[in-house]
Amino acid sequence: MPESNSTRSLRLGIAGPVGTGKSSLIATICRALSDELRLGVITNDIYTDEDARFLRSAGVLDPERIRAVETGACPHTAIRDDITVNLLAVEDLERDFALLDVVLIESGGDNLTATFSPALVDAQIFVLDVAGGGDVARKGGPGIARADLLVVNKTDLAPYVGVDVPTMVADARAARDGGEVLALSRTDAASVAELRAWVLRLLAAHRSGFHVPQDPGPMAPHFHADDDGGALHAHADGDHEHSHPGADRTHAH
């Protein structure tokens, strides 16, 4: 089997809508940790290899350790339904640069429902930015609600886009049932230090076997009322319908 435990890194996915700062966050992590950890990066590109080129030119990591995967017209397929090309790329990187501590995998910028399969990554960060609007965190979605970490990025821009960062962070925490939220700006050293500490904590938990990969899911878990009092469930796929007897009990997906 190509996957031998001896070379297995911590695989950390970075997802989030287009332009929220995924590549920049990877550059920030590399800058903060490349002295003490052996890192590798996989980018998932939709149309160009721009992300890989940006990261190579940022000079934060040996360019050879940054690889681009082509995802065709389906960036979400490549990180979730058919992860073959990404798995091959990660396994190649882990073999060529053994031993790596962490491989960072950037998803192609997609929409709010795109999350990584837990068969590809051990943990994932979902990135929003203040420029997308203060309401986005409240709108929820699987990545916002259940990624291992939600980053509210570019806080330095908040005054210019009329967003109150503490409110946005509080909304995000509420959407996540108290899960971790980090307000980040690459210009705010304290927030970068928090990000660095989070990655190191995750790596320690991963190595000690405490961290178990979770699937944020393609949809939010939701409540179905029925005669027995209802049940909370999550859907295994994103495009089905189900009927609910009684007009007051229907909901749309």
Binding site: Y47, T71, A73, I83, L88
Partner: protein, 235 residues
């Protein structure tokens, strides 16, 4: 861990699974040359001709390669299989002059092999592919999978021809969308046009006998496509 396949499903079932776009081998990044062709100026209203052309040319090379690889991987031990598959791989490479196309096919072959090693571990054909010094092309790996899975040769030929046509049809809906029923009909027609050739190709056993009916223009298109950055599909 995926379940190892022990009891053998019917060829009809295998062929459905292997032809299914949901097969986890990374096929969704390919357009069977359609994006390069359209980018090079082939009009979108010629796609049916393009499909027919492929069915009569590159599809037969691919199908012949897969059939001979299957034959070589059938009864033998891993050692003899390795030499046999290497000969099939060279025969295929000689019929696929574009380096870009060879690379793309070999990366797709790795996706198939990843699946093959999980579903049919220990089969001499699969083991020989895994032990090859460099990745083998998609038709060679597919042939080894056919041997491991007990897929008959005629089904394998039809699979290769159908898969190529359906890849073009699916990519067309992304690149130059039309009523999706139209390319679905083209796929059936193209497969029907070459069905009389299936038995002869399925009977091939020697690398030398693999059809050499390449399509130089698609090779050239693939080469220029590999140098562009603004592309949706790898090839």
């Amino acid at each position: 861990m995926p379940t190892i396949v022990t009891r053998i499903p019917a060829s009809a079932t295998l062929v459905m699974m292997l032809a299914d776009a949901r097969l986890p081998v990374g096929g969704h990044v390919h357009s069977a040359g359609l994006e390069p062709a359209l980018a090079a100026g082939m009009p979108a209203n010629r796609v049916f001709d393009y499909l027919l052309g492929r069915a009569h040319s590159v599809s037969l090379v691919e199908a012949g390669t897969a059939v001979v690889a299957r034959h070589v991987a059938l009864p033998a031990t891993a050692d003899s299989v390795a030499a046999g598959l290497a000969a099939v791989e060279s025969a295929w490479a000689a019929r696929t002059p574009s380096r870009a196309l060879r690379e793309v096919s070999r990366s797709l072959g790795r996706g198939y092999l990843r699946l093959g090693t999980r579903l049919w571990p220990g089969h001499p054909g699969i083991d020989a592919c895994s032990a090859a010094p460099s990745p083998l092309s998609r038709p060679v790996v597919l042939g080894a999978i056919a041997a491991a899975a007990n897929l008959d040769a005629e089904s394998l030929v039809r699979l290769v021809i159908y898969d190529d046509a359906q890849t073009v049809a699916a990519a067309l809906l992304k690149l130059a969308p039309i009523d999706p029923a139209i390319p679905a009909g083209w796929v059936l027609r193209a497969c029907g046009e070459v069905d009389h050739l299936v038995a002869a190709i399925a009977a091939l056993t020697s690398p030398d006998a693999i059809p050499a009916s390449g399509a130089p223009q698609t090779e050239e298109w693939a080469e220029s496509h590999s140098l562009t950055t603004q592309r949706l599909f790898r090839a």
